[in-house]
Amino acid sequence: MTEVVLLRGGRVVDPSQKLDERLDVLLVDGHVAKLGKRVSAPEHAQVRDCKGLVVTPGLIDVHVHLREPGEEHKETIATGAASAAAGGFTAVCAMPNTDPPIDDPAAVGYVAAEGRRAGAARVYPVGCISVGRQGQRLALVGEMVESGAVAITDDGNPVMNSGLMRMALEYALAFGIPVADHPEDLGLSATGHMNEGLVSTRLGLPGKPNAAEDIHIVRDLLLAELTGGHIHLQHVSTRFGVESIRQAKARGVRVTAEATPHHLILSHEAVDGYRTEAKMNPPLRCAEDVAAVRAGLADGTLDTIATDHAPHHYDEKEAAFAEAPDGIVGLETALGLVLTRVVGEGVVDLAAMVDRMSCAPARAFGLPGGTLAEGSPADVTVFDPAAEWTVDPKLFRSKSRNTPFTGWALVGRPRLTVVGGRIVFEG
């Protein structure tokens, strides 16, 4: 049966077409059929009044952990995809650091199939760079791409062996996929639990210095330059890292990079009191780093906002700081946080936000979407930019509740998420 959705009278913000005006959007059979001032509703159309709402190309998060297979008590592909849809995301890229890791074509196929079965946000599998994420030998990159992998990464771990990273960048050239790296020199940071600085000294917690991240960012940039490969730097958190990427882009290096909502908003002060819900990797850094990440997002040095959605069971976070795992959930707070604390504070405007959360991620990972041009996939996010709400983790669709933003008052929340022309979330 033909599915027809008409989004009536919303403010359409689509930087891919330099659009920012009130338009109707007609979606037919999974594609954008028409944008216009006054589109008449076909028979059987599901019409949604979008007056006062913003209509954008579907948001894409290129960095999430869905924990399946192996840690289904934290999240499953189904709950993660539902959490994404509820957060306004139409597509997510699932990191391969599961148990077992996603390092062969069968495992990639499993994630893709479970993602389709979930019927919420699209789930794109990301494969491992190395077999078993062991950092020794290249995984079956070509076959994983044939099974649906859109990128490779050993995320959670850095690739410590520079020779392996070089080979990954070279080998990936044949498939046109980015090699994503979690930049961290473990020799400097493996014992650390938070940013190295005054707060870590006061709390008596071993730190991770900025240099641990900087060294690998610079190394990866050099290797991308050497090979002509596409490096995608994950969750950039340091001022030197941002500046290095800026300079590399000016030299023509093929690099894309992420900023997370938490590194755009919080500093290491948030850890004070041993708050395990603010424990993450890379750690929250100092105020100068937050300012640099913001500036990098604003000038496009950092291409994408990615949540690094990292669910953990409450038992695991309710522990002494050193024993608690890294990471926070992010899919259902990202849009509200970015609208309130990034757009709301003038770091970027709405069009730039849509670029960083939809168009740029689609370009960086070669994904469908990121545009509402006629004929493109009907992946659409509709949000209310004025809706005031308070973050209550009990209401998350995600299985996990680990967030440092509990109780935060935010302005702006998703109202409608459409994937392939089908409404998958309405709130």
Binding site: G197, R202, G204, L205, G273, A319
Partner: protein, 323 residues
């Protein structure tokens, strides 16, 4: 009848957030308790009927025994739990241990734990008073207090003194408690040691940093010499204990260069011939054993104050009055 506000609040997790008045109250309260340990029958009924658990996740001799003596001399009922052979060794989480203690209606818990923040974690989750007996690299507040008391005993004041902590500052909870307590009471504080054993941004805590022990000795009135653990050498922070002694060891010949007497503290246990030479440790300006004696008095004072006692009533409490 109204009860005046408790001098310390529910717990003693660290010295960082205590005021000068609170620190002085603890030290002053320790004074009358010193005498108990000098009696033939070392027992007063101050904490009669109170149950205290000494929960030690790390090996400890001095601190655990000091707390236990303090508790017993105040007539509390005490139970010792060490990680070996207890539910802790069977994988029970800290939060579950906390809930079990709460269910047993324990009045106070003294906790030693390898993780920074563990004492505060427990304090936030149970209604009992919690005393931090050392949590990771964070704080060891009763050690800081007994160091303060010992310095005050010998030199008559804290304010205006120059105190240098020498050694492994990075891994030391004793260093942090000393820094906070000394600064709050108006001392000037410095730290000295190899840069590999210095925490980042330590200067921002308000202390001076020396990398050579000769400079520290030149500057200081008091040296608090920290133990250098063998593991630090194994982990590569210093190349060898012999070299550490040659360059950072506190010896009589180095002290003589100062041309005046420095008071010498050490939290123990000592590595003679590594961070401190025997002639210094056993010399006339060493107050290392006074620290141990004062440890019991300071811990009595903390137990008494957390149980709702007041400085003014400490003398009467010793005679059997209500705490």
């Amino acid at each position: 009848m109204t009860t005046p506000p408790a001098a310390l609040g529910k717990d003693l997790v660290g010295l960082e957030h205590l005021s000068a008045d609170q620190l002085r109250t603890i030290l002053d309260t320790a004074e009358p308790f010193k005498e108990i340990s000098e009696r033939r029958i070392k027992k007063v009924p101050v904490l009669r009927g109170k149950t205290i658990v000494n929960l030690f996740y790390e090996a400890s001799t001095r601190t655990r025994i000091s707390f236990e003596f303090a508790e017993k001399r105040l007539s509390a009922d005490t139970v010792n739990i060490s990680s070996i052979g207890s539910s802790v060794a069977k994988g029970e989480t800290l939060v579950d241990t906390a809930r079990n203690l709460e269910a047993m209606r324990i009045d106070m818990v003294v906790i030693r734990h390898g993780s920074s923040g563990a004492a505060g974690f427990l304090a936030d989750r149970i209604p009992s008073n919690v005393i931090n007996a050392g949590d990771g690299r964070h704080e060891h507040p009763t050690q800081g207090l007994l160091d303060l008391l010992t310095i005050r005993d010998r030199l008559g004041r804290i304010e205006g003194l120059k105190v240098c902590i020498v050694g492994d500052i990075l891994h030391s909870r004793v260093a942090r408690s000393n820094i906070y307590g000394l600064l709050t009471l108006g001392a000037e504080v410095a730290v000295c040691g190899p840069a590999t054993l210095m925490p980042p941004a330590v200067g921002e805590l308000g202390v001076q940093v020396f990398t050579r022990v000769e400079e520290a000795i030149e500057w200081a009135d008091v040296l608090n010499v920290l133990r250098l653990q063998l593991e630090r050498m194994e982990a590569g922070y210093v190349p060898s204990l012999r070299e550490y002694n040659r360059i950072w060891g506190v010896s009589n010949s180095r002290l003589a260069a100062a041309g005046r007497d420095l008071l010498i503290l050490h939290p123990g246990p000592m590595n003679r011939g590594v961070e401190i030479d025997s002639d210094v440790a056993d010399g006339p300006h060493s107050v290392i054993l006074n620290q141990v004696t004062n440890g019991v008095a300071v811990r009595m004072a903390v137990l008494y104050l957390l149980a709702g006692g007041q400085l003014e009533k400490a003398e009467a409490a010793k005679q059997g009055g209500e705490p």
